[in-house]
Symmetry: C2
Subunit: 371 residues, 2 copies
């Protein structure tokens, strides 16, 4: 039986930060909550997606809200349990397993805490393989799995149960409730059976996060390059080495929007990279050429330490390495790109796989300009 | 057995408009919905509060949202039924009766439609005896009756069930959901037993609305003064006869705010009345003297026809009569005034009963100035 103990939380948190691609909130806060829960209730059993019984009832949990609020007020484990119970009371069935919605950011660790408190296993998997800002942007949406019935709870003990016509309605209604819950709501949603989960969920993402974290820590200890460790684990590509020379931020429609300009250093001297972010880093353009777009992962890390840098934390003058890595292949389907492709976020760009862009093999796409 | 048929709806609608004190939405729209339902399902049985069994389950229904939206898109009877069913599915108990939250405006008539469709009786009563803009402003709040579990539904078939710590939380969360439901949500809330309802609800308010409407129509037919008919039914007072000479409107925090100035005509020649409204008319000041405040009823009607004029519909140059009438005595308690007194709406004025103000018997109150 595989378990998660306190010892693994730090590695998972580092990996979750990298997989957050700039968003997803601070996994360090999730680590604190998971550590407290494991100390109180003991280690958490981890179950492979392939081993989950067909008739298991997987109830994923997540915190919704502004990352800036989470920094000041930890998501409440009590409210998370309340949300799970409100959902069970609606459906008449109790969760046999829990799971992460997204492996990027704080959301990777909250299900571990919930599993400890509820005394159920956590699935080694998640619904994105990264982070995205909205509820309907998960892979199970592509498989017709509904977000609702969806339960929300807040620190005052209020609960709200939504049943929505589709996952976009669920996102909009839940977001409105979240704001009134002080921009800090705990949720139980996307209940699914083991049989439903297998084709629709990313497998072994907790393991990937943990390996990423372990590789970064090992590289730091051995004074080797932590960026190599990340690129290796993610089958990724170094897109740029530079320093931040311009930042334009605005908060709009609940998104932390950022346009960053990086000027190249060392091998990239003389080149320029622009990154466009909406919570997550979504588009990277080198000089006039698109080098990576959502849903592929665009990861910005400190060039020295490999520490991931969030959209909020990116600072003028920072020396960073930008890594591109392929997303889960299901997101590259027509249905997937309709939900999380560049056009879904308002960019007039067609998706091209980062590995082809990196090798110069991608077809010309609008906005890509001459090469 | 007392029933409501199509024939009574017009009188009830006129009366509901008068009792709306400027707010509550257009009862004419409620009349259309109730008429359609009665034509389809037959007359609706009306039950006196005194005859409701102690263990009856009364489930009131109401539409929440902007009156301007209701004008363009009728509240959906289907969504109202869906809300009632979502609540029943949450609580495991089906409504035996329904009731109005407020007798002012459109809300007076929707429960009649719901009763027809659900095949249950409607209580001859409501929870305000007038209209107020927020959910917690009902008399049952003073008796500790919770608004939640509270179910909401929209025209797309989305449902939301709230369970809230208190009625103010319920108001805030429901309001946020309502906005995302296109500012047009149907709700089932404040479930209560017959025994709970008796001390906490205003009795015979459907009858009052119907009598008001009948009296106004009779006066019009007989060419007598419809304002006399209203004043008589409500044990009210003519506060002012004037014409509108200034209007300042703004929409703020979901309220239609209005400051109106009336210059006196006939017996009130030379005097001036200011009316301050937030959806409902809340304060009337004649020259420098307060003559009526919330929770007492301030009713503005066309001087010729007795037709009530809403806050949105008040127009420059209109010749109107302003009537003051006592509210339900329970609102005049300390607990009641804390929820719906002038200070609850941001006015630095203490409540004085309209009948004492009218007779010059009220004590001096801040803001009242010299007499």
């Amino acid at each position: 039986m595989r378990c998660i103990t306190e010892d693994q939380l730090e590695d998972i948190a580092i990996g979750a930060g990298i997989l957050g691609t700039g968003g997803g909130g601070d996994p360090g806060l999730g680590m604190l909550i998971a550590r407290t829960a494991i100390r109180q209730y003991g280690p958490v059993q981890v179950v492979e997606l392939s081993d989950v019984p067909d008739d298991a009832l997987i109830v994923p949990v997540v915190a919704m809200g502004a990352p800036t609020v989470a920094n000041e007020k930890l998501p409440s484990l009590e409210a998370m349990t309340l949300a799970v119970k409100a959902l069970a009371s609606r459906t008449g069935a109790s969760a046999t397993h829990t799971m992460a919605i997204e492996i990027g950011g704080i959301a990777a660790l909250l299900p571990i805490a919930a599993a400890a408190e509820l005394g159920i296993p956590v699935i080694d998997g998640d619904m994105m393989g990264r982070a995205f800002p909205e509820l309907q942007m998960v892979l199970p949406s592509l498989f017709g799995i509904p977000a609702s019935p969806l339960a929300m709870a807040d620190e005052w003990g209020n609960t709200v149960v939504l049943e929505c016509r589709d996952n976009r309605h669920a996102e909009r209604l839940a977001r409105a409730v979240c704001v009134e819950m002080g921009s800090s709501a705990l949720m139980a949603l996307y209940s699914m059976s083991g049989a439903q989960a297998r084709p629709a969920v990313v497998s072994q993402s907790l393991l990937l996060a943990e390996r990423l974290g372990a590789a970064v820590r090992a590289a730091r200890a051995a004074h080797t390059d932590p960026v190599d460790a990340i690129v290796g684990q993610l089958r990724g590509h170094r897109l740029f080495l530079g320093k931040v020379t311009d930042l334009v931020r605005r908060t709009e429609g609940g998104f932390a929007r950022l346009e960053a300009r990086l000027d190249g250093v060392a091998a990239d001297e003389g080149a320029m990279l622009r990154i466009s972010s909406q919570n997550e880093h979504l588009v990277a353009v080198r000089d006039e050429r698109v080098v990576a777009t959502t849903p592929d992962l665009i990861i910005v890390v400190d060039s020295q330490t490999g520490e991931p840098i969030t959209t909020e934390a990116l600072r003028y003058g920072a020396r960073v390495t930008v890594i591109g890595a392929p997303c889960d292949p299901r997101y590259r389907s027509t249905a997937g790109l309709a939900v999380v492709g560049p056009r879904a976020f308002g960019y007039a760009i067609d998706f091209q796989p980062v590995e082809l862009l990196a090798l110069g093999l991608a077809g010309d796409a609008p906005g890509q300009g001459p090469r």
